[in-house]
Every structure is written in structure tokens, then in C-alpha cells.
């Protein structure tokens, strides 16, 4: 029975156990244990949830906290210490001169217009406009709204006015934003800076060649040009143009050691603020783009080639110089009556054509050609502006050698001419003219193509062209500036023949010649004789009624006046020079 009971009990237990296991399959532990564990897991479960939420809160708090710390630690730029105003919002960067004077800047201009068709509440709009523009004539606006055509409320809005209008959120108000390029110096740098189109993309000058830099860089473009010097030189050129009734003129001022251009002017010029389509060739950049036969300025190269090659010396005498030579059917003669015997130095000082031919003949075609090629006079110059001319090709021969010796039959640009003179003047070091400011340019890393001795000899000869009474450029002998240089008068080629009246008169000068620092090149395009002009000699003698039309009688006058005016500025700006005093 007991067993039965026991069995039954066992069975019963088994059934019970089975039933239990059916419901609580996973909880096989005794009842008291189960109770404890369930309590513990509930607490644990709730704790996990709390800590998870707390963790999220902590993360959020950390994010906000770190943002506050970040905002507090930001160092805002000081807008007032920088000369150049941050113009991140502008499409193009500023262009500055070497003294940080502004040459070009983009300006944001806002304008507001009304589209009457989209006005929903006319009264509300007028009240808002009255609040924003208290001085505005509302009757005019009412009338225009009545007409129903698109019209401008104001064309030059300031930032706050624009913002207030924008905050109105009115569909009928059309807010326009446009950028304009402003050139404070108007026409002063027209040939250098160039123009931009309606999309703010450069189409000529530096605006084109530095388009990427101006649009992508965060820094302004700093040029080697000097606005004050540029203005003075331009004024003097204009005066010269009026006196000698020229078609145009050009001037270039360059540091001969660095090749940095301080001034580049070509007249006539144009106002950059008034966008215009310039197709007339008179407006081409005469310094970089114009390709000319430049005449006697080439005699300096002939003399340099002769001395450098050892063919001649400064005192080598050339006897029995003829009055004229016939070459290729063309007669070559002297510009004036000259002695039959001349030294090499006198040939340069008195600008003898026949003498230059004799020197070139002595040097030979090969040597002379190689020398001129070393000065890179006949290949396209590598320059920052895109408006660069390519010298016309020619074949070397006996006749070409003769005409080239005094600068005829061969062409080059004024920039290349200036470069070649700078190389001769600076001790023979090869330089590259640049329009960008670079304070680290020194002669030490430059290639020397002419010896220092030859350079010194030629410099002293160039000085005599001006200081000698028989020299062709005595009007440029300005006291204190030790000017040296060479004149060049070349006839223009019109329809394949040399014109007798139309000339290109050039004067290249270096100063102070004892240690040349600057090069000034002046060119007058088709000048005319000025019989009414009073020529004043250094001795005090005055001359009027002069009808000669050579560089010595017009270009040199202009160059002399320029040197007299820019000389003090260059001297004060030049630390090396001012330290001597």
C-alpha cells in the first residue's frame, strides 16, 4: 500500500514534476531558489535599462558640452589687423601693387526689384518697405506697382537692407546679387591687368593669365609694379605725346638685378571700369605685344659682341668709314656728317651706322648670331602676360648681318630689348623680366652670359652717349642720376617700304651707371618734330624751331623728365642708395 502509495506518490510526483516541467522548463531549481533568482534578474534588468538611458544622456551631454567648449575656443580672425580684407565670399581675389595699394577688387552689389504680379498683400508690402527704407518715395512705388511691370526698388543695397528684405520672405521681392570688378586706378594699369567678362573670368592681361590663382587662392596677387611711379611716368608720357604729337607711346621701368618691373605703360590706354571691346591695333600693349625694328639701340649689342669676343676694344680705330653702303639694293648711310676715322667707342657714342656694320663684319655672322641668340632677342619671351609678341623670323646672311648691326631688318619686342640691356648692365647675368613681386631674387643664382669686364666697358660707353657733347642723348644728362643709355630711331615699314616720316623712336637708359640699378625704356610711336618746343641745354642755352625728328630730340627729353621725377622716389625707396647718405 505504502509502495502503492509510494508508487502513486512517485507517479503523482512525477506527473507533478512533469506538469511543472511543462510550464517551467527552464526553471528546474527549487522553489526558494527560483524566487530569489527572479527577484535578482528583475533588478538587474531594470538597472541595465537605467544605465543604458543614463549612458545616452551622458553622450548627449558630452556632445553639447564639447560643442560649447569648441565654440568658446574658436579664435575668430581679426578683421581689422589685415590689410587685405578677407574676401572668401568673392569670386576673385584682390590685385595689389608692391606697396599694397589696391589695383583690382571684386565688389558685391545687391539690388532689389519688385514683380507686381506676385504681390499678395500690397498694403503689407508697402508698410514693410516704408519700415526698411524710411526715406523712400512710396508714391513712386505705388504707381509702378499699378503699372504692373518689373521694376527696381533700389540698385545699391547695403548688407543690412538686403538682409531685412530677405527676412520678409516676400515672393514679389526679387533680390539680385552680382559681383563687379572695380579698378580704383581706372586706366593706369589697363594693359597689365586686362579685363574680365560678365562671368568674372579673365579675358585679357593678368586677369586671364592668373585667372586660376585669382579665383582659387585665398591670398591677393601682389605685383612688382608701383602705382606712384606708374602715374608719374604716364603723366610724363602724355605730356610727351602732346608735345611731339605721337600716335602712341610706351615706357618700362625695371630693376635690372631682379628683373622686377616697376612700371609698364602703353598709351593709349583705356578705363578698365568701362568694359569695352577694343579691336583697334593702336590699343595693343606696345611693350610686350608690339614687334618693332628698333634701330640704333642694337648698336650696343654689336659693340658688346665685339668686345666680349675679343674682336675689338673700346679704342680700336676704324679708318676710312664710307658715307654710304649699298646692301641688297638698299642704301645705308649715316644720319649725320661724321668723321671718317672713329674708335669703337665713338661709333656707339655718335651712333655711326657704317661703323656698326664694320664691327659686325669683323665679328662675323656666326658669332654675332650666337651672341644675339644668347640674349634671347628673337624667340618668344616667357612672360606672365599672355599678350606677348613673337619676333618676325628672318634669314641670316651677309646683308642681314650688316642691317642687324644697327637694328634694321630684325625685329623684337621692347620687353626683350629691355631684358637684353638689363643683362649687359647688371654684369652679364641672365634675368627674366617679371611682373610679380619676389623679394628673394638675387644675382648669385643667375647664369652669367657676359663678363663683368665687358659689362663695365659698355656701361661707361653708354654713359658717354649722354655725357659727351657729341653724344646723341645729352638731354637725359640729369645731375645726380648718372644716366647712361642709347637712342634708336627706326623708320616704320608701311606696305613693305620704309616710311620717311613715320618712325619708332626709342631710348633705353640705365642709372646710376656706376652701379646700374634701374632700366628705363621709353618709346614714342610716330612722333613729329616740335619746332615750337623750347629745348633747354644743360649749359642754359635754349633752342627753338628744331625740326629734327630723332630719338635724341624727343624720346630722350621725355625720358630725362621721367628720370628727374622718379629719381628721388627710387632713391628713397632704395635702402642701399639711401644708406650711403
Amino acid at each position: 500500500m505504502h509502495d502503492k502509495k509510494g508508487k502513486n506518490n512517485n507517479l503523482g510526483n512525477h506527473i507533478l514534476w512533469k506538469t511543472k516541467s511543462f510550464y517551467f522548463e527552464d526553471y528546474e531549481t527549487p522553489k526558494y531558489e527560483y524566487k530569489d533568482q527572479s527577484k535578482f534578474s528583475r533588478v538587474k534588468f531594470s538597472l541595465n535599462r537605467v544605465s543604458f538611458i543614463f549612458f545616452i544622456f551622458l553622450v548627449v551631454a558630452f556632445v553639447f558640452g564639447s560643442k560649447i567648449i569648441y565654440l568658446a575656443s574658436i579664435k575668430k580672425e581679426n578683421y581689422f589687423t589685415n590689410k587685405s580684407i578677407p574676401t572668401n565670399f568673392l569670386n576673385r581675389q584682390d590685385i595689389l601693387d608692391r606697396n599694397n595699394n589696391l589695383l583690382a577688387r571684386n565688389v558685391k552689389l545687391y539690388s532689389a526689384a519688385i514683380r507686381p504680379q506676385l504681390i499678395k498683400n500690397k498694403r503689407k508690402l508697402l508698410i514693410n518697405l516704408r519700415l526698411i527704407f524710411p526715406n523712400m518715395n512710396m508714391d513712386r512705388i505705388k504707381k509702378k506697382i499699378k503699372v504692373g511691370k518689373y521694376f527696381y526698388i533700389k540698385k545699391r543695397l547695403n548688407e543690412s537692407e538686403w538682409r531685412k528684405l530677405w527676412l520678409l520672405g516676400n515672393q514679389s521681392i526679387d533680390l539680385n546679387e552680382k559681383q563687379f570688378r572695380v579698378y580704383p586706378h581706372e586706366s593706369l594699369f589697363s594693359h597689365v591687368l586686362g579685363q574680365i567678362d560678365d562671368d568674372n573670368l579673365g579675358i585679357s592681361g593678368l586677369e586671364k593669365s592668373f585667372n586660376e590663382k585669382l579665383t582659387e587662392s585665398k591670398n591677393p596677387l601682389i605685383l612688382s609694379l608701383d602705382a606712384n611711379l606708374q602715374y608719374i611716368i604716364r603723366e610724363e608720357l602724355i605730356t610727351g605725346n602732346n608735345i611731339f604729337q605721337t600716335l602712341g607711346s610706351a615706357a618700362l621701368l625695371m630693376e635690372i638685378d631682379s628683373g622686377e618691373i616697376l612700371s609698364l605703360i602703353s598709351l593709349p590706354d583705356f578705363d578698365l571700369n568701362e568694359r569695352m571691346n577694343i579691336e583697334d591695333p593702336i590699343y595693343l600693349n606696345k611693350i610686350t605685344k608690339g614687334v618693332y625694328e628698333l634701330g640704333s639701340v642694337f648698336k650696343t649689342f654689336t659693340l658688346t659682341a665685339g668686345i666680349e669676343s675679343g674682336t675689338i676694344k673700346a679704342n680700336t680705330v676704324f679708318k676710312d668709314l664710307k658715307n654710304q653702303i649699298i646692301c641688297g639694293g638698299m642704301t645705308i648711310s649715316e644720319h649725320d656728317k661724321l668723321p671718317k676715322d672713329l674708335t669703337a667707342e665713338e661709333i656707339l657714342v655718335r651712333s655711326s651706322n657704317i661703323g656698326a656694320i664694320r664691327i659686325a663684319q669683323k665679328i662675323g655672322v656666326k658669332n654675332y648670331r650666337e651672341f644675339l641668340n644668347s640674349l634671347e632677342l628673337f624667340e618668344k619671351i616667357n612672360f606672365e602676360l599672355e599678350e606677348v609678341g613673337t619676333p618676325l623670323p628672318f634669314k641670316w646672311g651677309k646683308c642681314t648681318l650688316e642691317t642687324a648691326s644697327f637694328g634694321h631688318g630684325i625685329t623684337t619686342t621692347l620687353l626683350q630689348l629691355a631684358k637684353a640691356y638689363a643683362i649687359i648692365g647688371n654684369g652679364g647675368y641672365k634675368i627674366h623680366p617679371t611682373i610679380l613681386l619676389n623679394k628673394n631674387i638675387t644675382l648669385q643664382n643667375k647664369k652669367q652670359i657676359i663678363s663683368l669686364k665687358t659689362s663695365n666697358i659698355i656701361n661707361s660707353m653708354l654713359r658717354k652717349v649722354i655725357s659727351n657733347k657729341k653724344g646723341t642723348a645729352s638731354f637725359a644728362d640729369k645731375k645726380g642720376y648718372e644716366v647712361g643709355g642709347k637712342t634708336g630711331t627706326a623708320r616704320k615699314v608701311i606696305n613693305g617700304t620704309y616710311s620717311k616720316e613715320k618712325k619708332i623712336n626709342t631710348f633705353v637708359s640705365l642709372f646710376p651707371i656706376s652701379k646700374p640699378q634701374y632700366l628705363l625704356l621709353v618709346m614714342l610711336d610716330e612722333p613729329k618734330s616740335a619746332p615750337d618746343f623750347v629745348y633747354e641745354f644743360s649749359s642754359g642755352y635754349k633752342l627753338t624751331g628744331e625740326t629734327r625728328n630723332t630719338a635724341g630730340w624727343n624720346t630722350v627729353i621725355v625720358a630725362g623728365n621721367i628720370i628727374e621725377k622718379i629719381g628721388p622716389i627710387l632713391a628713397t625707396n632704395n635702402l642701399q642708395a639711401s644708406n650711403k647718405f
Binding site: V60, A61, I68, L71, K478, E564
Partner: protein
């Protein structure tokens, strides 16, 4: 107790987060406002600097000079500067310069002597001053004596007047 703790942490977390969020929102508003203000100022500064650059171009300055200034800003030629200084003046200037140079290039002994002379002179200055003061002293005492006499005389005259004695005329 635990539930209360959890509740407190939850509520405090909520409050803390909302506070931070509010503060950040305010800060952001302020920053936006300041940014706008900076933009506006920047715009004005940009325009002002452009105006300045335009008005200070050499062309405009020379125009202003022509129109508003009576001064003649003509440049001087080197030859003109030379003429303006007379040769005699030149010589004196040169002499002065020479003396100055020689003074600076004096030998050590000479310079020491010069220095001692200068220090002697400086030492003598207080003596001279005291001497001058001494010289002035008697004059001062005389003045004091005079003023005392006057006072005494005036006093006597007042007493005399009070007593009915006729005053003596001033000599």
C-alpha cells in the same frame, strides 16, 4: 530608495540636457547674430577701404592738391639744391662735421681728459649756484628789514592816531 535614485538621476539628466540645449541654442543665436553683424561690418569696411583706395590714388591726390592746396609741391632738381646751399655755408657745415668727427675719434687720453673736465664743470655747478644764492641773500634780508621798519612805523602811527597824537609825515 533605488527607484527614487533612478528617478532623480533621470529627471536631473533631463533637466541638465535641456538646460545645455537651451544654452547652446541661445549661444547659436548669438553667434548667428554676431556673424551677421561681422558680415555687415565687413561689407562696410570693404566699401570704406575701396573708397579710401579710390580717393588716395595718385590721380585724385594730385587733383585735390591742384584744387584745394596753395602749396607748391614742385620737386627739386639736384642742381637747384646745390645752388640753394652757399659755398661758405657748405664750408662751415663741413667744418662742424669735421669737428664732430674728430671729437668722436679722440684718443683715449684726450677723451678721459675731456670727460674729467666735464665732470669738474658739473661738480662746480652746485657751488656756483650756492654762491649766487649767497649773493642774493643780503638783498632779501634788507627787504625783510625794510618791511619790519615799515610795520613798526605803521604800528606807531596807528597808536599815535588812537592817542590823538598827530602822525609824522613819511619822508
Amino acid at each position: 530608495m533605488r527607484n527614487i535614485l533612478i528617478l532623480i538621476t533621470l529627471i536631473s539628466g533631463l533637466i541638465f540636457t535641456s538646460l545645455i540645449k537651451n544654452k547652446t541654442r541661445l549661444l547659436e543665436k548669438k553667434l548667428l547674430y554676431l556673424d551677421n553683424e561681422i558680415n555687415s561690418l565687413n561689407f562696410n569696411l570693404n566699401e570704406a577701404s575701396l573708397d579710401f583706395e579710390y580717393l588716395t590714388t595718385p590721380k585724385h591726390i594730385s587733383l585735390l592738391v591742384k584744387n584745394f592746396l596753395d602749396e607748391n609741391f614742385s620737386y627739386y632738381k639736384e642742381s637747384q639744391i646745390k645752388k640753394s646751399i652757399k659755398p661758405e655755408k657748405d664750408l662751415t657745415i663741413l667744418k662742424k662735421l669735421k669737428n664732430y668727427n674728430t671729437f668722436t675719434q679722440l684718443s683715449k687720453k684726450e677723451s678721459v681728459n675731456k670727460k674729467s673736465n666735464v665732470t669738474k664743470k658739473i661738480d662746480n655747478i652746485p657751488l656756483l649756484i650756492t654762491k649766487r644764492i649767497d649773493d642774493r641773500q643780503p638783498q632779501r634780508s634788507k627787504k625783510i628789514v625794510i618791511s619790519k621798519k615799515v610795520k613798526k612805523w605803521a604800528g606807531i602811527q596807528v597808536i599815535k592816531a588812537l592817542l590823538g597824537i598827530p602822525p609824522i609825515s613819511i619822508r
